[in-house]
């Protein structure tokens, strides 16, 4: 540095000689300041990615410098997020590069008191050995004389946070091994969505996409805390609001969503069917339905068989109830004049009676197989276009909801008639040819013993108002994990194969043809099911699958009832299930009855946990609540535990499917450090090892494993499988090995292969369509060239309904897809969800089947009759129409059906650690007098594994708390910011108290109902710790899909912290005794 420069660098010199006499600006700048550059500017590269938290699917730019991720922020090109990120998304740098992540494999030997490090390769070998051993030891060739070809000794849980490609390999490998207990968070979050939307419309995904909210004239958010759980998606509500839309939030709590709504409607948790039924009643009473739409596009005119009896006729139950078994025989719910085929895939002609009893359906989650394709019906149903026939759906609906008056809504939900009237008016005024209203919900609706029926109620209402398939309309099922839609589509679910094909059930002499015959519909695109199924078998078993061997159909393991994650826990406790994989899921905190989850794991022979940090599900043997209470001793627990550090989304390529049904690709930014590996790597190399070990086996049991097609190219220093090769397999190949471009190209003769038929086209022309990122500023608002949406890149489903029966738009304002007479095809802003050249006037010939049988006015092309279902004659096991029942545990007596408190067919497993409460006016119900509802906060994510370890998020919500009203605080002596203990028959937890007017006591069932809010993110591990809300919840399930009821339960609350050690158990027991709880409490079918 020369003297001159030195002098000129002296601030005083600059101050005296420059334009900054006070030395407060240019003269004061230091050399460092002048040299400042943002690290985004100096990065070596920018890698395109997708946020790994919720399912809004915000696009991210990952900045890499010297092979390290230095910054992650929103990608402004994304049509859904426009560059924005919520606090979790903004904290992904800390998530992926922070010190909380583990990078070494850990091993806990049986009875060990601490972790030991373990070499990755050794660990993989050990796991492969254990899988083979346990599989062999627990192999079941037959059950009750019927071939099942499976093992119940193994189970896996996880997939919603993983890539589609990872889910694909998990399901493929485990199915190949004969493992049926393959599950993920989709069971726990949105399985009832698939059943509810699927049976109503034909597909189980949200009917629309988030950006389309801006076109809504009224938005009803119910069962969702939209602004908190999906903040970036909420921008589209704000856009709609800015355009004058009315926003209504119906929720037990006044949340951050309510704060931005035009109207907040406090509702008693667990009463939404009564509320929605009340609106349905309002619409029907006032004939405010969108009549031309209802007449042509729904099943309103269908005549139902004369044996059908409604809940109004039978004191709260439908016809067909077997009181001894707690199941419905669903046959009396059918249309007149039709022979209803099995409402699910497991029926076969030899087992007609069993199928018709509804038994196997009710225990197997088959309602979800309508995730893409409604239940099957055949024959020509009778119709009454005047809607006057007393047995037509419209009239049945009218009678069913006749007592859902504003007064009843007040009584059941605690909503005053004036407020209720406002909601009805807003919805009716904003529906019709010129206007549309949209419903948005999330797990506030799904997680109930009648969760599927909650969704159905909204479907009925939206069909009556003519809001499905139209811009600004529809039903948005907000998904909460990055790929939970994907883990339903390419399922890690026990009852499904990819693309919502049902897993086969055990039947005598069942072959591929009888399986197809039992499951497909005669009409619509589900009629081509054989092509989808055979192509899947080709993708699974490759050259081994031939026409001669039924395409290896016999290789598939068979179901014999429900094998959901909750039954798996029972199987662990019973000693049937011995080996368990947890992949990005934390059931010790996040699943209902967390205590049973841990006790189940303590009975396992071995457990594999793959995660970022040492979550509760990995360490319960050492420091879990049962160790604290002294119920279990670490030394006594024989479970072998493997912890594998997982790679982050920045460290692997793959796709997530967001809540818009968009498949979005994220690219590898850096290699994972240490032993961290992708789940793709883990599954691939586990499968490779197992196949190598079994290659020489001559045991027929090993044949399916030997036949499994498992050749994926690997690359890089870790031998990472090529995710794009997996995506290409999912997409499918034609006869010449060329990538397919549409599922209509699939054949049933084995000449095509396809890993998931609804994703066919995602790799069209050999191009990764999921990686498309044309900026939203360069295309229209539908943004068809951003990523790829299933099916067929359609963004709004059932969009044929956006045009009137004659093919013209209902109105100019709401024009979306319409018939172009000149060109002879459907056209518009989206890919038409219809046969592209089928004119509106088309009448199919009598003998037409499959897609050919769809008329020009059948917008619901997956449905067996082409119509939206107001009344579900098949597909659900708990009723053709939603009916209000109280939650399993409720302090309120059912005001609607005095003789039927709960759904008669709910699944309530009364077990030692899973007891239920007396309800309503039963003796002892006053021991648990308050309603608890659980939920998420913006600042945390699910069971906390991706947020509680993150200091930037932990400091924002640093402790477990409960929210109570000032009235309840007074009643129970709770101090603001003090401690409270919340108690149920399952457990007791402590939480800090927030006394807030945002919690409002309601008057319902003739009494004041106090509600307690509990976020469910906390657990004992991590940077911020607290008790888990799921210590309180019970395993009480929806019979359609086995989802748990955690949104409404009863409890007591008292001031102060909970006892420690054995005294905690004493407290819970003393409550049980006081309430007189035994194994029969709350398990009645009738009553």
């Amino acid at each position: 540095m020369g003297v001159r420069t030195w002098i000129q660098d002296w601030p005083v010199y600059r101050q005296l000689t420059g334009d900054d006499p006070l030395g407060r600006g240019a003269a004061a700048m230091s050399a460092r300041t002048r040299a400042l550059r943002p690290r985004t500017g100096t990065a070596d590269r920018v890698v395109k990615s997708v946020c790994p938290y919720c399912a809004v699917g915000c696009a991210q730019n990952v900045y890499v410098k010297d092979e390290k991720v230095v910054q992650i922020e929103g990608d402004p090109d994304s049509p859904v997020s426009r560059g924005r990120l919520c606090p979790k998304g903004s904290a992904t740098l800390q998530l992926t590069t922070g010190s909380a992540r583990r990078h070494q494999v850990l091993y806990r030997r049986p009875h060990g008191t601490d972790w030991e490090p373990l070499d990755l390769e050794t660990a993989m070998d050990m796991v492969a050995d254990r899988v083979i051993r346990t599989r062999r030891e627990t192999w079941q060739a037959e059950q009750d004389g019927v071939r099942v070809n499976r093992t119940l000794g193994l189970a896996s849980l996880g997939g919603a946070t993983l890539d589609n490609e990872e889910n694909y390999l998990i399901k493929k490998l485990f199915t190949g091994l004969g493992v049926v207990q393959v599950e993920n968070q989709a069971r726990v979050c949105h399985s009832s969505t698939v059943a509810g939307l699927g049976t109503s419309f034909g597909r189980g995904g949200a009917t629309t996409f988030l950006q389309d909210l801006q076109n809504a004239d009224c938005i009803v958010i119910e069962g969702s805390n939209f602004a908190e759980a999906h903040p970036v998606g909420f921008q589209w509500v704000m856009e709609a609001k800015a355009r004058g839309a009315t926003v209504i939030h119906v929720d037990p709590r006044f949340t951050r969503t309510s704060a931005l709504a035009d109207l907040h409607v406090p509702i008693r948790a667990g009463s939404d069917i009564a509320f929605l039924g009340g609106i349905i009643h309002h619409v029907l009473e006032n004939e405010a339905d969108f009549r031309p739409y209802v007449l042509e596009y729904t099943n309103a005119a269908m005549i139902v068989g004369e044996d059908f009896r409604d809940t109004e006729d039978l004191d709260g139950v439908f016809s067909g109830l077997h009181e001894e078994t707690g199941h419905y025989d669903v046959t009396s719910w059918q249309y007149e004049g039709t022979q209803v085929q099995a409402p699910s895939g497991e029926s076969d002609k030899l087992y007609d009676e069993r199928t018709h009893s509804g038994h196997s359906v009710s225990t197997s989650g088959q309602s979800e197989s309508h995730g893409s394709g409604g239940a099957a019906v055949s024959g020509q149903p009778h119709r009454d276009p005047t809607l006057r026939d007393p047995r037509c759906v419209y009239q049945i609906l009218k009678r069913h909801y006749a007592r859902y008056t504003p007064e009843m809504v007040h009584e059941v939900c605690g909503i005053p008639p004036e407020t209720f009237e406002k909601v009805c008016r807003a919805l009716v005024d904003n529906s019709g040819p010129d206007r549309t209203s949209e419903f948005v919900y999330a797990v506030g609706w799904t997680q109930h013993t009648v969760g599927s029926q909650y969704i159905r109620a909204a479907c009925i209402l939206q069909l009556l108002l003519g809001n499905i398939g139209r811009p600004g309309g529809g039903i948005q099922a907000l998904r909460g994990h990055a790929s939970i839609q994907g883990s339903s589509d390419i399922p890690t679910l026990f009852n499904l194969l990819p693309g919502y094909l049902p897993m086969p059930h055990a039947h005598r002499h069942e072959d591929l043809d009888s399986f197809i015959e039992a499951s497909k519909t005669d009409k619509g695109f589900w009629g081509n099911m054989r092509a989808y199924m055979v192509s899947l078998m080709k993708a699974y078993y490759g050259d081994a699958a031939t026409a001669a061997n039924d395409f290896c159909f016999d290789h598939l393991p068979r179901l014999t009832g429900s094998h959901s994650t909750y039954e798996t826990v029972l199987a662990q406790l019973d000693g049937t299930c011995k080996g368990y994989f947890l992949m990005g899921e934390n059931p010790a905190v996040g699943s209902a009855n967390a205590r049973m989850q841990r006790l189940g794991m303590a009975e396992l022979e071995w457990l594999v946990v793959r995660d970022f940090s040492l979550i509760e599900s990995a360490t319960w043997w050492k420091d879990g609540p049962e160790i604290e209470t002294g119920e279990r001793r670490t030394e006594d627990i024989a479970t072998e535990v493997f912890f594998f550090p997982a790679a982050a989304h920045t460290e692997k390529s793959g796709s997530f499917t967001n809540t818009n049904r968009w498949i979005q690709w994220h690219h590898t930014a850096v290699e994972p450090a240490g032993d961290a590996r992708s789940d793709l790597w883990f599954m691939y190399h586990l499968g490779r090892r197992i196949k190598e070990r079994l290659a020489a086996s001559t045991d027929p049991v090993d044949r399916p494993v030997q036949d499994l097609a498992w050749d994926y190219p690997v690359h890089g220093p870790t031998a990472e499988p090529d995710a794009e090769a997996v995506l290409a397999e999912i997409n499918g190949y034609g006869p010449g090995g060329e990538p397919l471009s549409a599922y209509t190209e699939l054949r049933d003769d084995g000449s095509t292969s396809c890993g998931c038929w609804i994703y066919c086209g995602v790799y069209a022309d050999g191009v990764n369509q999921a990686a498309r990122r044309k900026p939203h500023t360069e295309q229209d608002w539908v943004a068809a060239e951003w990523a790829w949406a299933w099916p067929a890149n359609r963004r709004i489903l059932y969009n044929r309904a956006s045009a009137a029966p004659d093919g013209t738009p209902w109105s100019e304002r709401k024009a979306y897809v319409w018939w172009d007479e000149e060109a002879g095809k459907w056209t518009g802003h989206d890919v038409p969800d219809f046969v592209p050249d089928r004119p509106p006037t088309y009448e199919p010939p009598e003998d037409a089947t499959g897609p050919d049988a769809l008329s020009g006015v059948d917008p619901f092309i997956m449905q067996a009759d082409g119509k939206g279902w107001l009344f579900a004659p098949a597909g659900l096991v708990d009723g053709p129409l939603p009916t209000h029942y109280e939650p399993q545990d409720s302090p309120v007596r059912n005001p609607l059906h005095a003789d039927q408190q709960r759904s008669p067919v709910r699944q309530a497993f009364s077990r030692e650690h899973n007891r239920f409460h007396p309800s309503g006016d039963e003796p002892g119900s006053d021991v648990y007098p308050y309603v608890v509802t659980t939920y998420r906060l913006t600042e945390h994510f699910t069971a906390g594994g991706m947020t509680r370890w993150s200091p930037y998020l932990a400091e924002l919500q640093p402790e477990m708390f409960c929210e109570v009203s000032p009235e309840l605080a007074v009643q129970r002596g709770l101090e603001h910011a003090g401690w409270a203990t919340v108690i149920t028959a399952r457990g007791a937890i402590e939480a800090r108290v927030l006394v807030t007017r945002r919690m409002a006591p309601l008057t319902a069932g003739g009494r004041t109902v106090h509600q307690i809010g509990l976020p469910y993110h906390w657990g004992p591990n991590g940077y911020t710790t607290g008790d888990a809300a799921n210590e309180l919840s019970a395993i009480a399930l929806d019979p359609n899909v086995h989802i748990q009821e955690v949104k409404a339960l009863s409890a007591d609350i008292r001031p102060g912290r909970r006892p420690r050690g054995p005294e905690l158990l004493d407290l819970v027991e003393s409550y049980r005794q006081r309430a007189g709880i035994d194994e029969n409490t709350g398990t009645e079918v009738r009553g």
């Binding site: 600006g25 919520c86 640093p958």
Partner: protein, 329 residues
């Protein structure tokens, strides 16, 4: 430079703070934040995005009991802070449908409930405002606070080391390589924003992402904000946008909506980061009428100068008189 001479650069009208701080005629437009709290969803993305970009340390896990605000206020380790205020007031056409017939809230005092605990009570308006139909309404205000980047920034005026400086964008930034931790700026800030990091001694605050601005990027908080509650841009443009939004809200019947820190005539010459509030500033913990604490510095200097001159004159007179006296002797 001539334009600067003779002007009070510490208060009053100031059209070009960057230019007057020596950044030359071709300096970029003055930029800032307009935080429209009426669309804030309280997600705190701004807090996290800020910390991630600027590597601001996590600063403590404390459940405060102040609604969902566990950050508490701006400080050396918090450059964006979202305040949460629960009120018994209607928000324009946003209303709640609580049935007052069932339960009466009016007799319950959350402050009383909080008595006896160490945590502060949630900020809450005292007055119950029943609506015409007798319903008690509720609103939940959320607002993201930040350094105001004052036109007349006292922190920078009092900084003896030149650590604080006015950037070419008109913003006020601490240079951490210069700051010596003297802390003079801390009491100088009329908003209580700037703060010393305990273990370090130096002061830290929002830089309006000075490094990002240099490359044409927007600050991290504004970029992340899911609902565009935090808007970044040229200050003149933001002021126009804010005026339009205010008019819109007034038209919609939200009479309390007001701009805060927007006026160049206020005590700090207008803020580079200003706000649209739905209630009085005090409700959000903001000073109602902030004044640059160095406003009177020139006149104080003049007075001090006059005093010194008088003193000197007096002394001189004394000496002169004394000499005369000696002469006379």
């Amino acid at each position: 430079m001539s334009s600067i001479i003779g002007r009070n650069l510490l208060a009053g009208a100031e059209a070009d703070p960057a230019g007057d701080a020596g950044h030359g005629a071709d300096h970029p437009e003055r930029v800032g934040f307009f935080t429209d709290t009426s669309v804030c969803i309280g997600c705190k993305a701004c807090e996290v995005a800020c910390k991630e970009w600027n590597a601001v340390p996590e600063d403590g896990l404390e459940l405060t009991g102040m609604s969902y605000d566990n950050t508490q206020g701006l400080g050396a380790d918090t450059w964006r802070h979202v305040a949460f205020i629960e009120q018994d007031k209607p928000l324009g056409h946003a209303v709640t449908g609580v049935d007052p017939g069932g339960v009466d809230h009016s007799g319950v005092d959350v402050f009383a409930l909080a008595a006896g605990t160490t945590a502060p009570a949630p900020p809450r308006e005292q007055a119950e405002v029943p609506t015409p139909d007798g319903r008690t309404e509720l609103r939940w205000l959320m607002a993201s606070d930040v350094c105001k980047h004052c036109t007349h920034a006292a922190c920078l005026d009092v900084c003896p080391t030149g650590a604080l400086f006015r950037t070419e964008f008109g913003t006020v930034v601490v240079q951490e390589d210069i700051c010596n931790g003297c802390g003079y700026c801390v009491p100088a800030c009329p908003y209580g924003v700037i703060d010393q990091r305990k273990e370090d001694g130096r002061v830290f605050k929002c830089t309006l992402c000075y490094d990002r601005l240099g490359e044409g990027m927007e600050p991290a908080c504004a970029k992340a904000c899911p609902t565009d509650s935090i808007q970044f841009g040229p200050l003149d443009e933001l002021r126009e946008r804010a005026a339009a939004r205010l008019g819109q809200l007034h038209d919609a019947g939200v009479a309390d909506a007001q701009l805060y820190g927007e006026s160049p005539q206020d005590g700090v010459g207008g803020d580079g980061a200003f706000f649209l509030l739905l209630d009085r500033p005090e409700v959000y913990g903001l000073p109602p009428d902030p004044v640059v604490t160095t406003r009177d510095l020139p006149s104080m200097w003049r007075h001090a100068g006059a005093a010194a001159a008088t003193l000197l004159g007096g002394l001189a007179a004394v000496f002169a008189l004394h000499r005369d006296y000696r002469k006379a002797r």
